[in-house]
Amino acid sequence: MKKYWKSVEEFHGITVGDNGISEEKHKEEFLELFENGLLRKTSSRRDFFKIFGFSLSSAALAASCKRPVQNAIPYVNHPPEITPGKSLYYATSFFDGHEYSGILVKTRDGRPVKIEGNALSSFNNEGTSARVQASVLSLYDDARLKLPTVDNLPVNWDTLDEQVIKDLSGINSEDGEIVLLTSTINSPSTIKLINEFGTRFKKFRWVQYDTVSYSAILEANLICFGKAAIPDYHFQNAGYVVSVNADFLGTWVSPVHFIPKYTSRRKPDSPGQEMLRHIHFESGMSLTGSNADKRIKIRPSEEKQLLTELYNRIAARQSGKEFQGSAGRYDVSEITESLISSKGKSIVLSGTNNVEIQLLINGINSLLGNYADCIDLNRNLNIASGIDSRVEELVNDLNEGKVKALLMYNVNPVYDYPGSGNFLAGLKNTVVTVNMACSLNETVGKAKYESPVHHYLESWNDAEIIPGQLSLAQPCINPLFDTRSFQESLLKWSGNSLSWHDYLMANWEKEFFQKSDLPDFRKFWEVCLGNGVFSYNISDSKPVSFNKEVLSASINSKVSVGTYGFEVILYESVALGTGLYANNPWLMELPDPVSRHCWDNVAAVSPADAEKLGIITGHLIKIGENLVIPAFIQPGQAEGTVSIALGYGHTNSGPVGDNIGVNVYPFVGLIGGTRVYGFTTGKLENTLKQSQLALTQVHHSMEGRPIVRETVLSRYRSNPSSGNELHEEYELKHRTLYPEVNYDGFHWGLAIDLNSCVGCNSCVIACQAENNIPVVGKAEVRNRRIMHWIKIDRYYSETPDNPKVYFQPLTCQHCDNAPCENVCPVSATNHSSEGLNQMTYNRCIGTKYCINNCPYKVRRFNWFRYTNNKAFDFNTVSDLGKMVLNPDVTVRERGVVEKCSFCVQRIQEKKLLAKLENRTLKDNEIKTACMQACPSGAIVFGNLKDRNSEVSKLFQNPRNYHLLEELHTLPSVGYLTKVWNDEEKKS
């Protein structure tokens, strides 16, 4: 081979460096440095720099590292409606058998990332509950069922269908009974389909099963009015509400529907309307009880006596007679007077699942004439249809072997049916069992056939929540797994060749199209899909008449008031509800609004009982024979009662929900055919063992500091700034040494009405979903490192015996004079020209000085790497879980500080839109995630520079104040004082 060379050195085989010095020479010099330099008697400045430079550069070389490569794959066929970086919103409906909301689903690049309320849905307006907000995460849950199975072995759909059809027809030919057990279904098309499905078999029964039952209301209304329905309660028409054990702002029936109506009447300043006064009787401390003007503690066993007395007093007053009879523990004469003086404008309701009690409630309400304006049986709520006795009957029939085939959809009786052992035993007597569930639960694996269903965001559906108010549900993403909707399966198994989508469309064309005034069905369908909702007028049926006869029996029946032992109340928690979403880490980490703990269920005991039994929070207590659960001292808990949340203690729900807390469904009792959510026990022991609870707030008093400012209506009338005198004082003291910053254009601000906020926590989850806030797990919550950017502080005042409760949403105050900003050494947090206190994650080196210097302590630190970290395997580790991340918001790295940004991505989006459309921004056009989710409209965001914006007006309100304004931090968040209604109604 020919040799090429370009210099003589190269020819001789000496390699030459760029500067012409041979590398040999280099080596020599390098060695000289050590050999010569150090051994010389003197060392020169040059030597020093040589060694210094060598060490530094070798350290730099040794420290360099590589980053993994990630690929973004572009579309081959670009769907026309998708513009990368732009969100698409689909209107759909949420109904999981317990809770309904009309919603908009925000999708980005084909994947749903956020749920918003559908403003066109009159049911919930824009408000959503925490669970609805979190439902998008359940779509990306690894615990979802991914393919059909027979005898727990994977099969394809054809095989499954073939076998099911063969089995069902076999049973049918032998006259065996086929039972369909579902959660409540309010979809008119599905109901029609089920009925059609049923007619194909000789013996078919459809049983609806509600995990938390409203059976007594349904039955009582059937007895009284001939209609088994849950009425709608129009709080907006009521001036006086008496509620007993019904947490209608937290969990009862449909809080997201009730909260806006309730809070619309809780404003002290709305013209022409008197503020609603709310009296609440309960045992445990609920969200509703916390919001009531007057909260009275009762034991569950006292309820009937209380309502009987109330009924008798009202009846006596109306007939002009003096009240005769025994008076109970509580003086209800004042309440009687108020109810009578607000006749027709009041609501009395009870959440107890007891027919006699519900009959009494109906009696009281009809005496007061509330069925005209305030309680609506005509436009009732189709939220629960399960009748407890029918479920009992089914379980009995199962055990007697009468049922040959059981098809289950969206139910989990193995976990939440009180006699689940009984149910399981009965299941063995069937020939065929089919389970149709979306996600892993305790019932999964118990049936022969598993026919996994779509998540609701993948399915077509419709719903009729209130007669005449229809809504559609449409898929917002292609099914992620090999699943099939429940209705599709029914169609297949009944031999119907229509797809569920076509069936649904055909049904709408037949049933509802004629009710619209649109010319052709295609148009109608498109409009309905676009709006998500469709409503038509239903004719008012005849005014309901009340059957008084039925009352006498229940009034005269003996009342036994518990006088010994403990009465245990089993309730739904605001976060987890019935426990359907136990594997949802957002909900699992959502602190209970009142007790402020998460990742557990606890036994709430009253402070007096705790003292008697030597219990401190965290002690494991033994209730009855076999219920061991950590105790929690709950101020306001009635003496002699214990409250425990349902929905915990799963064994097969997925990695997040399993073995967290205790399942108390087995303790649900059965009296007179209805389920009773509670029991009585004489035995309550302190085992003295400690359990570690994840408490997010451990101090409950405001220490006399003006944190939540409050007044009462009577004082408010004479002085709207009562309770808020300090504000004016501090405004007068407003001085600064520095030139005041002048914002031109925008100055963003947020007003929070403490009177409207009921503390439902949906803003917390909305913020978590919007801003990619990680879940940190129980241990880290215990270390007080929960990441929520907005939290709802809860304070108590007065005595622990029955305290007043205050809720205060706390988020970054975006101070114009922010203490965090001037202490950051690298200017990673700074002030925008629009008054935002912003975090530059890239610049942050994590000194945490800003966290310390924030008087509100709203800054959060990324203590660990929460993404792709096996130690935090919640939703940011698997590729599936990460699909929920909002691409508009950076996922923060370990070691940086983060906090509320006033949803700056939303501000930017709308600003750009306005700019493109060459117009100015409208007020209320930009909505922060918390504001949008808030069912009560307590949070208002907007431009403070615009004097006419809603937020500016609220800032001018005499009730407005700033948190810790004495520090002169000049927050951009304002709070409106809490006004309690202290005025009894007078005639």
Partner: protein, 453 residues
């Protein structure tokens, strides 16, 4: 007639100059005793624990510590301030006593300066480690960069801190190192080992002891001394602004700069005393570090202790006098009473009360007494920093944010590691660097001894 024997001689035992060289260099020229190896072993184990803790901290995150959403700073800042305080001794000794013409400093200042350098290095470890992203720590350097108009925040006390500590470390290191040049040259000339000759020769920078060298040496000492004198006051003043500039009750106090500086000198002197008690015992240097020396340090300590007591009571008084409910809460319900009484009363007892025992000559002259009280002062000063950093943060403005703070073993590990490093550094210093400035000791050898007519 002026050489009245009031304080006793500074060097006892009528030493000749060569005897001084020999005795001071003795620890370097002989094999150390068993105790040295044991102590060094212990310090290495502690340092290893520290390295493990640092590894966990850097590889997993600050989450391995006990700090949380409300208490963002815990042991790491407590220890940082504590070490910085200890790091005040050397310079204070050299400069203040130099200015005050206290010749007795000569036998102590070298060790004190070494302690300063090692302590400040230990201290500097904490602000680096407490950063969430320590690998980006260079963002704090104010240097022209390509990241747009990004510049450090000159308003931030942390930035001042960084500058102050860096400057202090550089100056005190230079001061210490340059002061050693003549001694390095002495070793170089005395040693027979080739390696030692090379090493000490390198560090000796070619010192020959010529008049030129001495003149330059003297003037450099004055220049550095002048700068360092300012720094002694400024460093801890600036460290105090980390808190004083904050808005948190218990931090926001104008008293802090002098209070911190005095506190720092207090802890520094106490640490010097601890060290000296050992050095004079272990190396039989009682002729050089005499009882009078120890007595003098004890006198200074009792005086500073009074200032500390005054500062503590002033703080509490101002909290009450201001009528500020948050300050009142912090001092009266979270320090004097409440969850952190141990730390508060520990601070008062260790710093303001126990050092008062130094009024008694018997205790000033008892090495056990000196040792115990100096250790107690260091404990007390640790409590003081804990009080300031943690109690203020744990219960500040909004009660919903109140938390308690407990360190994890990782934080304890880092602290133990710095203690180990410190001890190891000191032991190596004894072994490889002259404990005293030989040339300076020689210059005071006659002071206080009887002058023959």
């Amino acid at each position: 007639m002026y050489n009245k024997n009031i304080r006793g001689p500074l060097v006892e035992g009528n030493k000749t100059l060569s005897q001084i060289s020999k005795e001071i260099l003795n620890p370097m020229e002989t094999t150390p005793g068993l105790w040295w190896y044991i102590a060094f072993g212990i310090s290495l184990i502690a340092a290893l624990f520290g390295f493990y803790a640092i590894y966990i901290t850097v590889s997993q995150g600050i989450g391995t510590w006990g700090v949380n959403n409300s208490v963002g700073w815990g042991w790491e800042i407590v220890n940082f301030v504590w070490w910085i305080g200890i790091g005040h001794a050397g310079t204070a000794f050299s400069i203040f006593l130099l200015i005050l013409r206290q010749k007795w400093r000569t036998s102590i200042n070298r060790a004190a300066e070494a302690m300063t350098v090692i302590a400040v290095m230990c201290a500097a470890l904490f602000p680096a480690l407490h950063m969430g992203r320590v690998w980006l720590a260079f963002y704090i350097f104010p240097y022209p960069n390509t990241r747009g108009p990004l510049w450090v925040n000159f308003n931030s006390p942390l930035f001042w801190d960084f500058i102050a500590i860096t400057a202090y470390l550089l100056i005190s290191f230079s001061f210490w190192y340059l002061g050693m040049l003549p001694d390095f040259a002495t070793i170089r000339d005395r040693t027979t080992s080739k390696i030692k000759k090379a090493i000490y020769g390198f560090f000796g920078m070619g010192w020959t002891g010529s008049s030129h060298h001495w003149i330059r040496f003297e003037s450099l000492s004055f220049i550095l001394g002048g700068i360092a004198a300012v720094l002694v006051v400024s460093v801890h003043s600036i460290v105090s602004t980390d808190f004083a500039v904050g808005i948190i009750p218990g931090w926001h106090a104008t008293l802090f700069p002098p209070y911190f500086v005095v506190g720092a000198i207090f802890s520094g002197f106490a640490m010097v005393m601890t060290l000296m008690v050992f050095v004079r015992k272990m190396y039989s240097l009682t002729d050089y570090i005499t009882d009078n020396h120890m007595d003098a340090i004890a006198r200074i300590l009792v005086f500073i202790s009074l200032i500390m007591g005054t500062a503590y009571s002033t703080e509490v008084f101002v909290a009450w006098y201001s009528g500020n409910e948050y300050e009142m809460f912090t001092f009266f319900r979270n320090r004097i009473t409440g969850d952190y009484t141990v730390q508060f009363w520990g601070m008062i007892i260790c710093n303001a009360l126990i050092p008062q025992l130094f009024w008694f000559k018997k205790i000033r002259r008892s090495w056990i007494g000196l040792l115990i009280i100096s250790l107690i002062i260091n404990l007390g000063m640790w409590y003081e920093r804990f009080n300031i950093v943690v109690t203020s943060l744990s219960k500040d403005y909004l009660p919903s944010n109140w938390v308690s703070y407990n360190p994890t073993y990782i934080e304890i590990g880092v602290y133990a590691g710095t203690l180990g490093l410190f001890l190891a550094g000191i032991l190596l210093f004894f072994r490889y660097i002259p404990i005293m400035a030989i040339s300076e000791v020689k210059s005071v050898v006659n002071i206080g001894t009887k002058v023959e007519d």
